[in-house]
Structures are given as structure tokens and as C-alpha cells.
């Protein structure tokens, strides 16, 4: 779509009668709605958010909303997954750009921290307040943490003693990373997230490498 848009401005289909295929219009509306949903819920909290808040922010009609989603929860879950998709994609690009596993891990973690620090409100919703949105959302959050485990599992092949490490190590290491980040967010220190890198790298490496080697790797990064 070769249409010039101003920096930071999302392209919208032209108003009124136009010849765009309906599925294109609908996809763009859906994306707008998903982004608006994360924004509104981050600001107001899930419980206080209404469908009207969402349609207003997204600039879509109520009819369109209900064509896309059954209710607020379905919309929030889709919005949440969409946001997680974006994060995991960014992490993956940074991770794949490096060779050695500890370097890959460092690059992935740095990208995650930068992305979260850039949008503290969204970060808090994604990692902390999501639990207030009910059991289905809690399971989505857990699934999101689970999506990070392949990045950790590679430690098993990299580490000399990696084969003997419990199978759940990757889930636990991912949990440690997310937990340490959440602690910062709860304390309102989102802007300091990037300084967490060495702690997170240690938490990532230690189940596979042990404390000595993990500390050495961390030391080399910070030096």
C-alpha cells in the first residue's frame, strides 16, 4: 500500500464510500480495536473498561465491535495475544542475530527490557494487571511466559552439564525473568528496567551454567 502517512500515524481506510475490499477494512478496524483495547485497559483497568470505551477509542461502531468480538473479554484476550506476539517477534529478531547462547539471551533480554521501558503502562498491563482480568486472561499470561521457554531451552545444549538440568528449568528461568521485571513495574521503576539486564541474564544462565560461569558471562557483558 504505497500511501504516505505521517510518522507515527496509523493508516486508516478513507471514510465514506470506497472500493476497498471489506476484509481489508475489517482487518484495519480489528487492529485499531486491539491497540485501543490495550491502551484503554492499561489506563482504566479491566474491570472499569466498557465496550463503549473501546469503540470510542478505536473509532468504530458498536455493530462493528460485535461483528469482530463476542464481548469485552474476547476482545481483551485477542488484544493481549496480539501485544505478546509483537513482543516475542522483537525478542526473536534480536536473539537470532547473535551466535552463542549467552549472547543470544542477552540480546533478547535487552530488547524485551527496552520495549517494556518504552511503554510502562502497557508493560504493567502485560505482566502485572493482566491477572486482574479473570481466569482466562491469567491463563493467557501463563501461555505468554510459556512462549519464552524456547529461548531458555537452548541453554541445555550450550551448557556442559545442561543435559542433567531439570526439564522445567526453562519454565522457571522464564518465570524468574518475568518476576524480576514485574517487581520493578510494581515499584513504579519502569524507566530503570534496562539496568536490570545483568540480573536477568544471571537468572537466565544460572540454571544451566551454575553461579560461577553465569557470573562470569554477566561480568563480561557489563564490562
Amino acid at each position: 500500500m504505497a500511501r504516505a502517512t505521517k510518522e507515527g500515524e496509523r493508516w486508516k481506510p478513507p471514510r465514506g464510500r470506497h472500493k476497498l475490499p471489506p476484509e481489508v477494512v475489517s482487518r484495519s478496524q480489528r487492529e485499531r480495536l486491539l491497540e485501543a483495547t490495550m491502551r484503554v485497559v492499561a489506563e482504566k483497568g479491566y474491570g472499569a473498561t466498557t465496550v463503549t470505551d473501546l469503540t470510542r477509542k478505536a473509532g468504530i461502531s458498536r455493530t462493528t465491535f460485535y461483528e469482530l468480538f463476542e464481548d469485552k473479554e474476547a476482545c481483551f484476550l485477542a488484544a493481549y495475544d496480539n501485544a505478546v506476539d509483537g513482543l516475542v517477534r522483537q525478542i526473536n529478531v534480536a536473539y537470532e542475530a547473535e551466535e552463542r547462547w549467552p549472547d543470544r539471551a542477552r540480546a533478547g533480554l535487552a530488547t524485551l527490557l527496552a520495549a517494556l521501558a518504552a511503554d510502562p503502562e502497557l508493560a504493567r498491563l502485560a505482566l502485572v494487571d493482566v491477572a486482574a482480568a479473570g481466569p482466562a486472561a491469567q491463563r493467557r499470561f501463563r501461555a505468554a511466559v510459556q512462549r519464552l521457554t524456547p529461548f531458555f531451552d537452548e541453554g541445555r545444549d550450550f551448557a556442559p552439564g545442561g543435559r542433567g538440568v531439570p526439564a522445567n528449568a526453562s519454565r522457571m528461568a522464564a518465570g524468574a525473568v518475568v518476576g524480576l521485571i514485574s517487581d520493578e513495574l510494581v515499584e513504579g521503576r519502569a524507566d530503570e528496567l534496562p539496568s536490570l539486564l545483568s540480573d536477568l541474564l544471571f537468572a537466565t544462565l544460572v540454571p544451566y551454567l551454575g553461579p560461577d560461569a553465569a557470573a562470569r558471562e554477566v561480568g563480561e557483558v557489563t564490562r
Binding site: G134, R142, R171, M172, G175, L180, F202, P207
Partner: protein, 244 residues
């Protein structure tokens, strides 16, 4: 975690005997309402706290209404408001009891004479057993409370700080501690918690005790090194088979 459970050894035994005595005297002569009333209130309070945990497990704390709680507890709205200010107050009361119970049990197995790793293993096993025996409370304390806001969040955080202090004692007798970040204990605890919460959300709360070897591994490795952590994990595995 369960509000019904005992705090610790001898004292609670005596307390329990008191209670049994009172219950035996159930056919109290009329005119003794002063004795009956607190007892009824106590059991209603307990029923409400149980009901809240049950309702939250289904709908989440946010969506749970006082009507839901009253329905499960089989009490009137008026009774609820006699005992609690609001839903948050009820969650807070439940957290208070749950925390007191969890801490009481951990204190029972805690002994400065035990080797640190043994103490960590025993405390973890106790904690997992407790969570497994009260799934709804486990869910409430570890999943709903941290997101509920207010005092409940503080209580959740203070419970974690106590466990972390226990864990950080590993730093006084570590094999190596060079370059270990001060957040290592917090990270290890978050790692364990994440595994536990995952099991709870997957509906496997009753199988939490099986996580003992993995959790022992993750919480000891920053302090003891990989070989010793693996050894401790295998010990934990054996203790599971001995007890299960």
C-alpha cells in the same frame, strides 16, 4: 493457607481442645447467647472466607460479587456486611489468615540447626503440601491477591519477603558467591512461584508436591552450585517417594 488450620504445635492443640469442649456443649442452656454468638459468627466468617476463595477460583476476584460469595456461603448479605466492610476487606482477611497459617507451618519446620539446604527442602515441601490441600486458597493467595490492589498486594509481598529472607540465608554458607547479584534470591523465588502458578492455572494444584525436586534445584543452585543443587534435587526426589 486454610483459615481453619492450626498455627503451631502445643498451643493450637490446647486451643483445639477448648474449641472441642465448646462444641460438645453445643446444647447450651438458653440464655447463653453471649457464648453461642461469637461461635456462630466465627463459623460464618470461616464459611464466607471459604466461599470467597471458591467463587474467585471460578470467576476471578474482579468478577466475583458479594452476591456470589453469599450464595456459596449460604449466608445473607446482612451477615456478610456485619463481618466485612466490602469484598476487598474479605480478601484481605482471607490473606491474613492464609499467610499466618503458611508462615506458622514454615516456622514449624524451620530450625537454625538444620543445614540450609535441608531447611529449604523441608520448608518448600511444607508449602507445596499446604497449597495442594487448599487449591482455592492457593489460587487466591498467589494469583488473585497480587493483582487485587491495596492491602492484599502488600500482604502477598510481605509473605514473599519472608520466604526470600529464609532463602537468602544461603548466602552465609555458600560454596561460591562471587559476582552473584543481590537479586538472586528474588529471582529464584520468582522462578519457583511461576512454576507453581502454572500448575495451579493448569488445574494441577493437587500435584504441586511433585514439583519439589525442580524447586529445590532452582532455589539452591545460585548458592550451592550445580553439582550440589543436583544432589539436593535428587534427595528431594527420594524424600517424595518415601512420603508418597
Amino acid at each position: 493457607m486454610p483459615p481453619t488450620a492450626s498455627q503451631n504445635g502445643a498451643k493450637s492443640k490446647a486451643h483445639k481442645d477448648d474449641l472441642d469442649g465448646l462444641i460438645e456443649k453445643e446444647q447450651l442452656p438458653s440464655g447463653r447467647e453471649d457464648l453461642v454468638e461469637p461461635l456462630v459468627a466465627h463459623s460464618q466468617r470461616e464459611r464466607i472466607l471459604n466461599a470467597m476463595a471458591e467463587a474467585c477460583a471460578k470467576k476471578g476476584f474482579g468478577a466475583t460479587t458479594i452476591a456470589d460469595i453469599c450464595e456459596v456461603a449460604g449466608v445473607s448479605r446482612a451477615t456478610f456486611y456485619e463481618l466485612f466492610r466490602d469484598k476487598e476487606d474479605c480478601l484481605q482477611a482471607s490473606m491474613e489468615l492464609s499467610l499466618a497459617d503458611a508462615m506458622g507451618r514454615i516456622v514449624e519446620v524451620y530450625s537454625p540447626d538444620k543445614p540450609w539446604a535441608t531447611m529449604v527442602r523441608d520448608a518448600t515441601a511444607t508449602f507445596l503440601d499446604l497449597l495442594a490441600s487448599r487449591p482455592d486458597f492457593a489460587r487466591m493467595a498467589l494469583i488473585e491477591a497480587p493483582a487485587a490492589g491495596g492491602r492484599s498486594v502488600e500482604m502477598y509481598a510481605s509473605g514473599k519477603r519472608v520466604l526470600q529472607a529464609l532463602l537468602d540465608r544461603g548466602r552465609s554458607d555458600p560454596i561460591e558467591e562471587q559476582g552473584i547479584p543481590s537479586s538472586a534470591g528474588r529471582g529464584a523465588l520468582a522462578a519457583a512461584e511461576s512454576l507453581i502458578v502454572g500448575q495451579i492455572l493448569a488445574g494441577n494444584t493437587e500435584r504441586l508436591p511433585e514439583l519439589l525436586p525442580d524447586i529445590v534445584y532452582i532455589v539452591t543452585i545460585p548458592y550451592l552450585g550445580q553439582d550440589e543443587a543436583l544432589r539436593q534435587s535428587r534427595e528431594a526426589e527420594k524424600s517424595l517417594h518415601r512420603n508418597g
